[in-house]
Symmetry: C2
Subunit: 367 residues, 2 copies
């Protein structure tokens, strides 16, 4: 039994948790930069709540609400300019994974004289500004992980960085902020979280404590599966999905993700398939190709989720994540070439070569 475990982010879960714990903001200083997307902060209701708390407590703030989906280096650079001028004590990220990751990146740039491209060196002289994370989706786990995933147009891919200093210091998990999410995005983000738990559990960096947390996340995913299939989400299910995403986040802090994410990035970059949808689409074939190498664990996934077989899972995913995208031979060749170079491909139960990845892609999209 060997493991390292830590969950640095002080996490508050519950309806109205930002109001019930508003002192946490005050502890961080009197000047905050809010980092969010064009719509998620507003639509979710989180932005208005945060603004009220900051105003009521005499905390001065500015809002940078131009975070793109899958933010680019260039987008982060705009944030850098703002944070350098405004010079806040802390940063509040509100939104899905994109604004949360952007908040973390901007927090590093605020205290270090480096260019956004240098972030990927993952070495910073100075501690980043503290980040408060308020997710409005239930999927990325970014609210409790160290990871920052940015789009590199120069590489036509996503790249990540993150270390012990890039964890948000606080996360507020209030399912009310996920209620404005439409069914499609609710399903996509849930599939992202489920994929985190599955990849963390099956990857070679899995540990006894992460396995047990991952299985709990999968069990909760199983409890939500009928609602996901019916696309009907009450408060209980919304909260369960947020809790599942949090647990899966605790897992990938330590295990990272594996080939599903590595392969999925190209589907997002080139074909504009949403991140969680991409992962979900790839999951059944990923499980099938790994089955012989991780039979016992994959059987446990089926038991935890209540899914009766991998074929049944394929059927569920086909209905849950319909897509009309299909891939040409050249596209499959290109995406497999990109994926096979990713570090995270190697932390897979079965060693995957380029042909394996091509098979996963063609079976997932073209069959």
């Amino acid at each position: 039994m060997n493991f390292t475990f830590q969950s640095k982010t002080k996490t508050f879960m519950g309806s109205k948790c930002i109001f019930n714990n508003k002192n946490e903001f005050l502890k961080l200083g009197k000047k905050a930069l809010i980092v969010t997307g064009k719509s998620s902060g507003l639509k979710s209701g989180a932005l208005i709540d945060v603004k009220k708390i900051l105003s009521d407590n005499g905390i001065v703030y500015e809002i940078f609400d131009s975070i793109e989906n899958n933010p680019s280096i260039e987008n982060i650079n705009d944030g850098k300019t703002i944070v350098k001028i405004f010079s806040p004590n802390f940063i509040i990220g509100i939104g899905g994974g994109s604004p949360l990751d952007a908040a973390k990146a901007i927090a590093v740039l605020a205290t270090n004289d480096i260019e956004p491209i240098d972030l990927f060196d993952n070495v910073f002289l100075n501690k980043p500004l503290p980040v408060v994370a308020i997710p409005t989706t239930a999927g990325t786990g970014s609210e409790v992980t160290q990871y920052v995933i940015l789009t590199r147009h120069d590489l036509k891919n996503k790249k990540s960085f993150g270390n012990e200093f890039t964890f948000p210091v606080i996360a507020f998990l209030d399912y009310n902020y996920t209620k404005s999410l439409n069914s499609e995005l609710t399903i996509f983000t849930a599939m992202d979280a489920f994929s985190h738990s599955v990849e963390g559990y099956l990857g070679n960096r899995s540990t006894v404590i992460c396995d047990f947390i991952a299985l709990e996340a999968m069990k909760i995913f199983g409890e939500c599966l009928q609602s996901l299939q019916n696309a009907v989400f009450n408060d209980v299910i919304r909260e369960k999905l947020l809790y599942m995403s949090y647990l899966a986040g605790l897992v990938i802090i330590h295990t990272g993700t594996t080939s599903v994410h590595s392969i999925g990035y190209s589907l997002t970059y080139f074909k504009n398939i949403q991140h969680g949808q991409a992962n979900g689409i790839l999951l059944p074939e990923y499980l099938k190709i790994n089955y012989e190498y991780a039979t016992e664990k994959i059987n446990k996934i089926l038991v935890a989720t209540g899914i009766c077989s991998l074929d049944n899972f394929s059927t569920i995913i086909g209905k849950l994540l319909p897509t009309n995208v299909s891939l040409s031979k050249e596209e499959i060749e290109l995406y497999a070439s990109i994926a096979v170079e990713q570090r995270s491909i190697s932390v897979n139960p079965r060693p995957l070569n380029k042909e394996d990845i091509k098979l996963i892609l063609s079976k997932s999209l073209n069959d």
Copy 2:
């Protein structure tokens, strides 16, 4: 679903984990004070390993090895004198709960001009020195909790303090260091950890995430129960017990303990019954008196541990923790008076009054 969760202590689990992660010491500075008991550091082998790592890495150290069992304010004051003179960058606690708690207390006194008695105010101007915790027992969970429990001779009781600054920054969990523990202490400390998981699970501060961790700890306790009854401990069981203790520690960070601990303190103070033994002796009657108020949860405890009934649990405890201590009417009266004043009595499933506590004491010790 409302909860707060955080596990601040970076925890390394595994055989030789201090050697495999020796850089962690270097990150903390070049001067360390080792705080340990008269024998636990030496007998466990942990002290010699730590000294080797420190020497090999040019870290200067001093050893304060006079920590008593259930350390008193006076004992902590001796540590204060040494830490002020030596002025280390960090503190390494090696041992059971007593040296680990002492290390945390001395870390606070190192950076704050206060007297040991002021520790219980739980407000410190300056951050304590970083503490590295290396447990040599599998029970207290102190290696990952904020709690410091000291003996107050003036109150004839134990008192605790602890806040977000008193968590060890690092914990090294190597079951090899628990192998020198005799059977009796192995059983006593295991009962302490089990009691943490049970009290955390049943107490009014329980949360969904702590419940699921507590149940896992109980499941592992159940897997070790036969070995505990046979008093035969191989490496696998030693490691499981250490892991169980860690998980139970994660629980009580957030839930605290309840009446078992509150009542048990008198048995330790006045009758010299070891802390874990005291908790274990009280557990069956604690569960029985709470059964009507927490039926479903107590049934889940029985399922998780594989114990078939509460009466069966009484029998197991009777054999596992034999004692010839019995209490006079006056003693029961006194201990109940002390316990009923404890804050943690109130976080119980069933509101306990003094008569209830007297009943628990007499049934546990005199029947």
